[in-house]
Point group: C2
Chain length 595, copies 2
């Protein structure tokens, strides 16, 4: 059985749930249709199976190593990346004008999910390059795009995003890397960057680092941050590779998981300063970086969801194959043992994984569709998609990171002792997935972003739009005999979430912002559960609509997972709302000395 992703599931998400074909009616995407998408997915499936998955375990056991002055990575990684680039996949979602295929981001997201699930470590290099490329596509000058973006899309250059410094991670306004302006219009950068994935290796002709730094004399904090292109090698006027830039590897980080993606400490300006090219205007760097944050954060949630789903598929295979024990009603030890999938608790573990993994994937794909609408839709579509994406992004980033990890934890449990060994990949998925709550804004940061910024912004317009969408689904489902009970439960949940949100805002005026935000992380989980319940109901409705005549295991499975989620998971939001509504200050007020 396929165990990276299942093609029929992906087809369900793209076509039945999210109607990719309707999206391809938009002028921006009119050059391709389902036959093109399917041909690309054929090729993705083949490359993932033949080039990515086979070396995933070897890469994990042989992480990139710095010796003799350079970073060594097992050769299978470059072979896989070459296959990816040769298939044109680096340019999938870039505009044709920039050398891309101009395909929907929704399709690109399905592609990314496939490679993340097959081999997180190897897929990291292209994911970063696409993210950096998107930033250049949006904010780079024509010259910068020609010089840097085109070779990235061609797969000759790879990209990185360099924000953090040893003393400044979440607190990005406190970075110290400085960029000294030069007479020729370039800058010289001096400083240190930390946690930079993909920033040193020999697998591409060049590495395009997008670096946040401060120009001396600018405003303090986040308002004084500018964005620079700092390539590993300078580029000659004819486009050929020039001298080594003054950016050097200071060391590698050795991680619990995600070991295949090299993670670097970088020094800028050990000698004369690293040559950097300003992107856009001075002091607008963080704003440019954040203009891509929605897609970057969808990418994190997506990789968490993809790892959860592949873990689920591996556990499912094992549960169908492994025999152990007998039905509770069978006390005769001479009868043969049954496959463990026959045990109620194993079914529970499988349903829980499926509900988490496919709820998370459905959410991420939905967010990707919104990103397409924001990019290519008409004005009304853009407005609405923008409002929804604003409020959903912290959830799309965090919910899969929380519950996708839990799914991987359970996948190990289905395997028992075997799952705890490195003979099976589920322990690797679990280690890989633990990163997702940390990078691109920690879980705590996402909670503050959701409750502190996104919920109140524009008079609560994003929140109201989300509630309106959920109510639309409630209305649709409440008229259908098979789903009326779920519609009612979702309506209760969204009403409770809305009432709780209003209560919190009311009390905040009296108790202050610190109390309002003290449980922001719990708010994030709470609203996430409501949103995923909504996504599940929409998926169940889509499955019901797509059902072939007679039995249809895929549709039955989606509906079973939806019911599981409503019965076992959604009710946890009730006690969370009680806590949130009283602006519980237990944590806020516990003095540091008593821990």
């Amino acid at each position: 059985m396929p165990n990276i992703l299942r093609r029929e599931d992906v087809a369900f998400w793209l076509y039945d749930f999210l109607d990719l074909e309707a999206l391809s009616q938009l002028p921006h995407f009119a050059d391709a249709d389902r036959s093109v998408y399917d041909a690309i997915l054929d090729s993705v499936e083949k490359i993932a199976e033949e080039r990515y998955q086979p070396h995933a375990q070897k890469l994990d056991a042989n992480e990139p190593e710095f010796r003799d002055g350079s970073v060594h990575i097992i050769p299978e990684v470059k072979e896989a990346l070459d296959a990816f680039c040769e298939a044109g996949l680096m340019g999938a979602s870039f505009d044709a004008d920039d050398g891309g295929l101009q395909l929907p981001y929704l399709l690109q997201t399905a592609i990314s999910a496939w490679f993340s699930a097959a081999n997180w470590g190897t897929s990291g290099y292209t994911g970063l390059t696409v993210a950096a490329g998107n930033l250049l596509a949006e904010h780079g000058s024509e010259e910068q795009k020609n010089r840097f973006l085109r070779p990235m899309i061609e797969g000759r250059y790879f990209g990185t995003m360099a924000l953090s410094e040893p003393h400044a991670g979440s607190s990005v306004g406190d970075i110290r890397t400085r960029a000294e302006p030069q007479e020729d219009g370039t800058y010289r950068l001096f400083g240190n960057k930390m946690w930079i994935s993909g920033a040193d290796h020999e697998m591409s002709d060049n590495i395009v680092n997008l670096v946040l730094a401060k120009i001396p004399g600018g405003p303090a904090g986040v308002k004084g941050i500018s964005l620079f292109i700092v390539p590993r090698y300078l580029i000659n006027d004819d486009g050929s590779r020039g001298a080594r830039n003054d950016v050097r590897l200071a060391g590698l980080n050795h991680k619990m998981g995600c070991r295949g993606t090299v993670n670097c400490v970088l020094n800028f300006g050990d000698k004369d300063g690293a040559v950097g090219y300003l992107v856009g205007e001075r002091h607008h760097g963080l704003q440019y970086m954040f203009s891509m944050m929605n897609e970057m954060r969808i990418g994190v949630g997506l990789s968490a969801a993809a790892l959860a789903e592949t873990g689920y598929l591996h556990a499912l295979d094992y549960a169908r194959d492994r025999t152990q024990g007998r039905k509770l009603t069978d006390r005769d030890p001479s009868t043969p043992m049954v496959p463990i999938i026959e045990h109620a608790d194993v079914k529970r573990m499988l349903l829980q994984q499926k509900a988490y993994a496919e709820g998370a994937l459905g959410l991420c794909f939905y967010a990707a569709r919104l990103a397409d609408e924001l990019r290519a839709g008409d004005q009304a579509m853009q407005e609405k998609a923008g409002l929804l994406l604003d409020i959903l992004t912290p959830i799309v980033k965090s919910w899969p990171s929380e519950f996708g990890l839990r799914a991987n934890e359970i996948a190990i449990q289905v395997f028992g002792g075997a799952g705890y060994t490195r003979d099976y990949p589920v322990e690797r998925f679990y280690r890989d997935n633990r990163l997702n709550h940390i990078h691109e804004g920690t879980r705590g940061i996402q909670g503050l972003d959701l409750l502190g910024r996104k919920v109140p912004m524009r008079g609560g317009a994003s929140f109201k739009t989300l509630v309106g969408e959920i109510k639309g689904t409630v209305k649709e489902a409440s008229g259908m005999a098979d789903f009326a009970d779920l519609a009612e439960a979702l309506e209760r949940a969204v009403d409770l979430a809305a009432a709780t949100t209003a209560t919190m805002a009311g009390k905040a005026e009296q108790l202050g912002q610190e109390a309002y935000l003290a449980n922001a992380t719990i708010y994030l989980d709470m609203l996430g559960h409501v949103v995923v319940a909504w996504v599940w109901l929409r998926q169940a409705l889509a499955a019901d609509g797509a059902r072939a005549d007679g039995a249809d295991a895929l549709c039955d499975g989606k509906i079973a997972a939806c019911r599981y989620f409503f019965r076992y998971e959604l009710p946890t939001m009730e006690s969370q709302c009680a806590l949130l509504a009283r602006l519980d200050k237990t944590c806020l007020e516990t003095p540091a000395e008593v821990f």
Copy 2:
């Protein structure tokens, strides 16, 4: 700051919470008093810090290796184990008649917690030896005790427990290893064992494997299992080491964590059969094994709790040291950054870890005290302790495994990216702790044991005794102004748990045993939360009673964690009870084909 365990916390648990001094009034324990205990704890603390903790990371990175015909383990492990044995710690809880110190198991449990927290991998060898020794002490003949147990207590021989086989883990009745009786009264064993920790190495003169096997012609299933001593080396009549027995290493398992404890696949009888000595009577092997299961399962929960606590202490250190960002009320980027412990969400993460880790440790220590009462108390004490231990054991094993792991997950989050690297030990604690839900009976098995056996057994006597104890604490606390609200919440929770249990039993008659047990794992979590809330309230009362004049950070911390648990954690049991009370069949009835 000490980061293995804190001595003042251990003193709190032993003396303030569980009154070890009162226990030492029992005749069985009368030879030692607090001055002895404290001297032993001094020595434990020193050995853990100087001999165990320093090589924990090295051992994790250099797991035991099979080459040139033997298992190689870094020499620091044997040095640490030698120090442990030289301090007499292997015999701490064994009877003086068998060569032990005859100290309370409660003290032994504190010792184990310290070494598990310092270095799980190294501590595994002695933990297994003590467990195997306990089995021999209880069921071995005098000759077997002299021949095998005494050298184990002296630290010359190590022990193992060999139950599982490649095809039979949870389903132990299906083991196939056979023991052929010989004319001289010994047996010859043939078969394969899997997941045997500590079964092959060169660190002790001998390894005493306690092996489950079937004597041909016996009953099928669990009723035909016998227990054998199968030493790695035969022992000559003068006690010297004889020939190699026919038990051979077939391979090592390579785990995600707990890497330091060698885990083996064993072949018995590749040649003439492995010589084995029957323990007790034929076909009673599983019963003997299970007579020690309470303590073995307390040991698993304890190691999960100890890893959680040391992870918490490491995270606490980091949170006090690492600066990042500013108070929400401070928008001036030119002010210095604050230690992250000042942020409400970091306090939440610390309280959550503390509530999980110290709730779990309190629970395990309480269970250890019950084991002492069962062993050495008067008849009434024994009766009650036995009833409580029966119902608590699955919770003591599982609750720390579930929530201790969660605590380690959060410790990584407090560290951020740094916690995801192997430069800090929190990722190792997380990997180590993932084992605990798997060995000595999986989480699913514990749920079935609790709901299927322990709750209904003896007309519900265990359950009623537990409820009675909890109500006793409710009564005590309800008269105290500071704790009346907690008493009320606990009473509500235990009443709801009892009502739910009764409802389930009532419906089971109609809907059958499969439906009754379909959500046994959720019942395990639910009742676990009630029990830990009770343990927390008892700890809070003990802290309140032990409070020194004026400020007392330790006591304030216990009470803060207790309040956190009641406000943030306990309420989750309400939605679980709703699910349980309806005997939800969503999982049970989902067909295997739709996954």
